[in-house]
């Protein structure tokens, strides 16, 4: 009897067997929202990766354009040593990871496979660059930099090269945080070694910024007058936007914000 049943089972067509399994196990199609959610998640992850990639691009641009290319000889004779010390590695690695995730997520979307890998890679990279450039141009990268900077690991040599240039006060370089305004001509600045300087800004040209306010980090080119007095010739922001170079230098020294 059992053999007969097995033999009957074998003789059934595939369609009958499938139908039997569906009926006996009460199999139901999975709900449509599951597929829609999957597609939504793929696109969401794609755009999130592109956005994080864009943030990386904007901060990479900010770091590179804010590096002191014209003064690097103050700390090292090799251009490449300086270049490799100021490269924002964390953001470069994050950009690469995000482009890979975006690339992978794009392929997971319904029609993603129709595009070649190279095209998707270039597309995600270009999109990150375009949005990153916009963020940089719109000065959003300054804010992003300030928010993220305390948490971003950097190699020790970055700090040395980045700050050492501006610690050579005897050579006319000074940088730090504005801590007070004394009068219309003088401000107080704390350098990166926590020394307090009185800076005379009379007739100094202010580059790439409209105003100086308390807490702002600035770079000053000028001359050391005494142990705590510095005569400024040019005042630059610590970080700058390359597009600001089209703004003519202002001779207005500072304003209270």
């Amino acid at each position: 009897m059992k053999k007969q049943k097995e033999s009957d089972q074998e003789q059934k067509s595939v369609s009958q067997k499938v139908w039997q399994q569906i009926s006996e196990n009460e199999v139901e199609p999975l709900p449509k929202w599951r597929w829609q959610l999957k597609e939504l998640l793929n696109w969401g992850m794609f755009f999130l990766s592109v956005l994080l990639g864009s943030i990386s691009v904007s901060i990479i641009l900010l770091e590179l354009f804010s590096a002191d290319w014209q003064f690097y000889t103050n700390v090292t004779n090799s251009f490449f040593t300086y270049l490799f010390s100021v490269l924002p590695y964390f953001w470069i690695i994050l950009l690469i990871v995000m482009v890979i995730i975006a690339y992978y997520r794009f392929f997971q979307t319904k029609k993603g496979y129709r595009f070649t890998g190279l095209r998707v890679l270039v597309f995600s990279l270009l999109l990150s660059f375009a949005i990153g450039l916009f963020l940089y141009f719109a000065n959003v990268s300054f804010w992003l930099y300030d928010v993220t900077n305390p948490y971003i690991p950097k190699p020790a040599v970055y700090h040395i090269h980045k700050y050492q240039v501006w610690q050579k006060v005897n050579d006319g370089f000074l940088a730090g945080k504005v801590v007070d305004f004394l009068d219309n001509k003088h401000l107080k600045l704390r350098d990166f070694e926590n020394n307090i300087w009185k800076v005379n800004c009379l007739n100094a040209k202010m580059y790439n910024m409209e105003m100086i306010y308390l807490g702002k980090f600035i770079k000053i080119l000028g001359e050391k007058v005494s142990d705590d007095l510095f005569q400024a010739r040019e005042v630059h922001p610590w970080k700058r936007n390359i597009f600001d170079k089209f703004v003519k230098p202002s001779i207005k020294i500072y304003q209270m914000k």
Binding site: I22, P29, R34, W35, Y113
Partner: protein
């Protein structure tokens, strides 16, 4: 049975929407494609008929569960082939070590377009030709074997193969070209005579 006779003139896509309303219609879809999918699985895997039937059952069950993921901008057959391909290939990889001695007794005319593509004159002994071609196909990596089967045995267009394998059309073209080269290489290496 009567139900399926009524749906003979329905398109696959129409039938899918009917299945989603009344699951009894699924039987008609299975009937429509069971032989085609069985043949495809057989060609792709070279497994025994019973093993292929088990795979086909698995394929139709998965297709039923995933029916809501079927989108109308794809042909149903393409979508079904994609599921069949995924299940067969993952099974094929698992069982690659197993000796496969069963070759499809396909019509030798099926190979005509393939052989003329390779500039190989067809053998007179059809049975031998058939067996030899399957032997060579079996020696090819799965990625080459699958494109050759889809293109020359299933006679699908590049676009359909692209949708089944989830690869760009250009990549499919490249794969087919490489697969043909690889086929000739194995043919020469193994000293198999097709002409």
């Amino acid at each position: 049975m009567l139900l399926c006779q009524q749906t003979d003139k329905f398109t696959d896509e129409k039938l899918v929407s009917l299945v989603l309303e009344n699951h009894h219609y699924y039987l008609c879809l299975v009937k429509r494609y069971e032989n085609k999918i069985l043949r495809y699985v057989y060609r792709l895997s070279s497994l025994k008929r019973e093993d292929c039937e088990d795979l086909v059952q698995e394929i139709f069950l998965k297709a039923y569960k995933n029916l809501n993921s079927f989108s109308q901008n794809l042909k149903f057959s393409t979508w079904l082939y994609r599921i069949a391909h995924n299940i067969t290939i993952s099974n094929y990889r698992k069982l690659q070590a197993r000796p496969k001695e069963v070759y499809e007794n396909s019509e030798s005319s099926m190979w005509d377009s393939f052989l003329s593509d390779l500039d190989i004159v067809k053998e007179v002994n059809n049975q031998l030709l058939n067996e030899n071609i399957w032997k060579i196909l079996d020696k090819l990596p799965a990625k080459y074997r699958e494109v050759l089967v889809l293109r020359f045995l299933e006679e699908l267009e590049y676009k359909e193969i692209s949708d089944i394998l989830r690869k760009p059309v250009n990549t499919v073209g490249t794969l087919i070209r490489r697969a043909k080269k690889q086929f000739v290489k194995v043919l020469e290496k193994e000293k198999i005579n097709l002409s």
